[in-house]
């Protein structure tokens, strides 16, 4: 790898660092100059005579307001700065040369005697011929490689061998040089290591912000689902897209997800006022996203579990879940009622004002 710091370009950077003092003022005047170039044709006036005057090209034209002297106070401040603030340690006002330093090459260009004794690198630079040596790794690298490849027969053989192996590898895995990297299974993010549904349910089980306890409860729920006998699924209230019932306990998270998704309502009922007039609220169905649907279902499940008599919270919720799977729970009725209202209320959908 070539060195990241190229020493041969360093002098360019150094030149940029030591800007002459006039540079800033030139720079500051540039917008004005630009305008003067642009407005060259406008500057010719009808009432001015053409002959008898020297025509100044627009670049050299000078206007009275182009380089105004600074304001009196600014000038005074500047003088004060030079005289008092920027002093060397012995109290003398300093020149910018002393403050900022002068490049050695500049000093040497004035000093003929010194030029004789200056370092060889600088002398070579002055000659502007080809250098006798180079420290640049980058520029000579291909050259070296070529010469070696040409000169060394064994290296060429090695190169051909490497090439052969690479070709073989390319044949084995078309399109890829090395073995295909394995896509990570699941997720590497520790915040998302649980199933989305399980995570949502756990967070809703949480009381007083005690997540660890909720996770413990969730594991008890999953273990109960795992160990309880497979559900007797009613044909009237089947779980959506479920595998055969005996397989359900072996995959408790799938079991839980199916239960929640099966009782999740598709919409919520919004009480919309001011459509029908007379202050009557009209029930308008409003679609829910997947997460919202699940949230509603989980809320219903937890509400339903509160009426149970089991000692443990996790046990109550687990039993409610099994009751849902077997079609015995009141959560199903709740969902049916919601859907009934929604179906009758869908006539009101057109009445609802459009939101902008």
């Amino acid at each position: 790898m070539p060195p990241r710091l190229n020493l041969f370009t360093a002098h360019k950077a150094a030149a940029a660092l030591r800007q002459p003092a006039s540079f800033a003022s030139r720079n500051g005047a540039s917008p004005l100059r630009f305008r003067s170039e642009q407005s060259a044709s406008i500057q010719t006036r009808w009432n001015s005579s053409k002959g008898g005057k020297k025509v100044i090209p627009p670049e050299e034209q000078k206007f009275p307001t182009q380089d105004p002297l600074p304001h009196v106070s600014e000038e005074a401040a500047e003088v004060d700065r030079i005289m008092s603030k920027e002093k060397s340690c012995d109290g003398q006002p300093t020149a910018p040369e002393l403050e900022q330093g002068t490049p050695v090459s500049e000093i040497l260009s004035r000093d003929k005697e010194g030029m004789k004794h200056m370092p060889k690198v600088m002398q070579d630079q002055l000659k502007k011929g080809t250098r006798s040596f180079s420290t640049s790794a980058r520029s000579r690298l291909p050259e070296i490689q070529n010469s070696q490849a040409e000169g060394d027969a064994s290296a060429a053989m090695l190169a051909s061998m490497i090439q052969g192996v690479e070709e073989q590898a390319a044949e084995r895995i078309p399109g890829l040089k090395f073995a295909e990297p394995e896509a990570p299974r699941g997720t590497l993010n520790f915040r998302k290591r649980y199933d989305t549904m399980q995570d949502q349910f756990t967070k809703m089980l949480m009381q007083d912000g005690k997540l660890a306890r909720a996770q413990k409860n969730m594991s008890i729920i999953l273990d109960t689902l795992r160990t309880s006998s497979p559900p007797n699924i009613q044909s009237r209230r089947p779980l959506l897209g479920a595998p055969p019932a005996p397989q359900l306990p072996l995959d408790p998270v799938l079991y839980l997800t199916l239960i929640v998704d099966s009782v999740a309502p598709v919409f919520r009922i919004r009480q919309q006022k001011g459509i029908a007039g007379g202050g009557t609220a009209v029930q308008v169905p409003h679609p829910l996203t997947l997460r919202q649907r699940r949230r509603t279902a989980i809320k219903w499940i937890i509400d339903g579990s509160e009426k149970r008599r089991d000692a443990q919270l996790a046990q109550r919720v687990a039993n409610e879940l099994i009751a849902i799977a077997e079609g015995r729970s009141g959560v199903w009725d709740r969902r049916d009622g919601q859907h009934k209202i929604g179906i009758s209320g869908r006539a009101n959908l057109g009445l609802a004002p459009r939101r902008r």
Partner: protein, 505 residues
């Protein structure tokens, strides 16, 4: 005629609003003439709102009366004891889990088979009652998710199996009558209690007498009755209830062995006949807790007897070796919750029951003539921090590493640390006397054992991952180098699948 308005001005004119005047309904109707204020002035003054605090009527109470909150009708709380029963429930089988094909049972022959390392051996069904009787299973262990209980065979298990064979007088290097004393330690979840369970199962297989104290804490927590022993100095205490429970456990688990052995010594206990079996003897302690301790002492002398008393040799049979397993040793190393007559805390070593089992552990103490094994496990989930015990275990580690007690590297209690001298004395080295106490530290499983263990999860249908070298290596690292409790969590833990969340529809 030219308009006075110019065109632009005209265009600026807006058409007048529909009604310049507001509609009549919009004008507020004034009830009185707008220019008169007299009606307002002469209006009757507003009635002051009555303030109950300022205007008190006579015979009116001044106390604050609040409406009682209505109690929400809730489900009846669970019956007393129901919660505890739920907490202590031990389920050993999950009918939903798949039957693992080709799973072997632990037997007297295969406990020494090193080829079985890494495989899970099932516990035979008839033995489950015995193991339940000695309370080998603990509620927090994950027995309930598998089809049948089983335990993984690890290096320590095979070594223990060899010891069992040796002490039983079988195999090549038989040493019948040898006593092995071990203190089992290890980090949390390293399988100390299950190691004891495996020892018990081996004991039952080899027809030993198994005596266990499943919770050392129960003897010192002040929950059972205690009686001072008269004339003892310093005063010692008997725990009749706990002794009775121990006798029950022992008889229940070892009925087959005890019923085959006859009484061979003379005892001062009413009801003991020369023809009665050891089971009959132990049963005397069930009914009368006052008799429990003498009965236990009698039973112990019977079991450790190497020869019959003169005149009783007729039915004497050699006694089997014994396994004594204690879990939670640290609880016996500090003051108990019991108080003496001066209301001072009684040290655990002053309880006769505890003292009996701890004295067996002492270096050089060879009371068990028929051989056997003592396994005293520490616990990390419920353990009081006892500094003296830590020092004693460190000293034992150092001795096993070959550091002499006289050398400067030998660990000792720090100055002014107030380490319990009785504890240090219990573990002190006694040279030249067998049997010596050993320290057995349980670590993690090896990678191969880990693989076998996790494959057992997969074959039970609980784990839906391809169990390969990479995956096992990952889990082995994540479990702190094969700590089996952590591996169990990883095995049963339900992870997020690779499937992303389905889009909302």
């Amino acid at each position: 005629m030219a308009s006075a308005w110019c065109w632009s001005c005209l265009s600026r004119l807006r058409p007048t609003t529909r009604a310049v005047l507001p509609p009549p309904s919009a004008i507020p109707r004034l009830t009185s003439a707008p220019f008169h204020s007299s009606a307002v002035q002469y209006a009757p003054p507003l009635k002051k709102k009555s303030n109950s605090m300022t205007q008190l009527k006579y015979r009116q109470g001044q106390t604050l009366r609040r409406k009682k909150k209505k109690t929400v009708e809730r489900a009846r709380p669970p019956a007393p004891g129901e919660r505890k029963a739920l907490r202590k429930r031990i389920i050993l089988s999950n009918p939903n889990a798949l039957e693992v094909e080709g799973m072997q049972e632990i037997s007297a022959e295969n406990i020494v088979d090193a080829r079985l390392r890494g495989s899970v051996l099932g516990l035979p069904v008839p033995m489950l009652d015995q193991l339940r009787a000695v309370q080998a299973f603990k509620p927090k262990q994950g027995w309930s998710i598998f089809r049948r209980p089983g335990a993984v065979v690890r290096r320590d298990t095979v070594e223990m199996g060899r010891l069992f064979e040796k002490i039983s007088g079988e195999g090549d290097a038989a040493e019948k009558g040898k006593v092995v004393k071990k203190v089992v330690t290890g980090t949390k979840g390293s399988g100390k209690t299950v190691h004891l369970l495996q020892a018990m199962s081996m004991g039952f297989l080899k027809k030993w007498v198994v005596v266990t104290i499943p919770e050392a804490r129960e003897l010192v927590s002040g929950d059972t009755a205690y009686v001072p022993v008269e004339g003892s100095k310093p005063t010692q205490y008997i725990q009749p209830g706990a002794t009775s429970a121990l006798l029950m456990r022992t008889v229940e688990a070892n009925r087959e062995v005890l019923s085959g052995l006859k009484v061979s010594q003379k005892h001062d206990i009413a009801g003991v006949k020369p023809t009665s079996t050891l089971e009959d003897l132990a049963k005397l302690g069930f009914q009368d807790p006052a008799l429990a301790w003498p009965v236990f002492k009698a039973l112990w002398t019977e079991l450790t007897a190497s020869a019959a008393a003169p005149g009783m040799e007729k039915d004497f049979q050699t006694r089997p070796p014994m396994l004594v397993a204690v879990d939670g040793l640290a609880h016996w190393m500090h003051n108990s919750a019991y108080r003496d007559t001066d209301y001072k805390l009684i040290h655990a070593h002053d309880l006769v029951f505890v003292k009996h089992f701890l004295s067996l552990l002492r270096n050089g103490q060879a009371e068990m003539k028929n051989g056997g094994m003592l396994l005293y496990a520490t616990s990390t989930s419920n353990s009081p921090g006892v500094y003296a015990l830590e020092v004693a275990l460190d000293q034992m580690t150092a001795r096993q590493a070959g550091i002499k007690p006289t050398s400067p590297e030998y660990p000792s209690a720090e100055a002014y640390s107030n380490a319990d001298p009785r504890v240090l004395d219990l573990f002190k080295p006694i040279e030249g006397k067998e049997p010596q106490m050993e320290l057995q530290t349980l670590g993690g499983l090896t990678r191969d054992e880990t693989r076998g263990y996790l494959e057992y999860f997969a074959r039970s249908g609980l784990l839906r991952e391809p169990v390969n070298e990479n995956w096992v290596g990952e889990k082995w690292s994540m479990s702190g180098g094969g700590i089996i409790g952590e591996l169990e969590k990883l095995g049963r833990h339900v992870r997020s699948a690779a499937i992303p969340t389905p889009a909302a529809n």
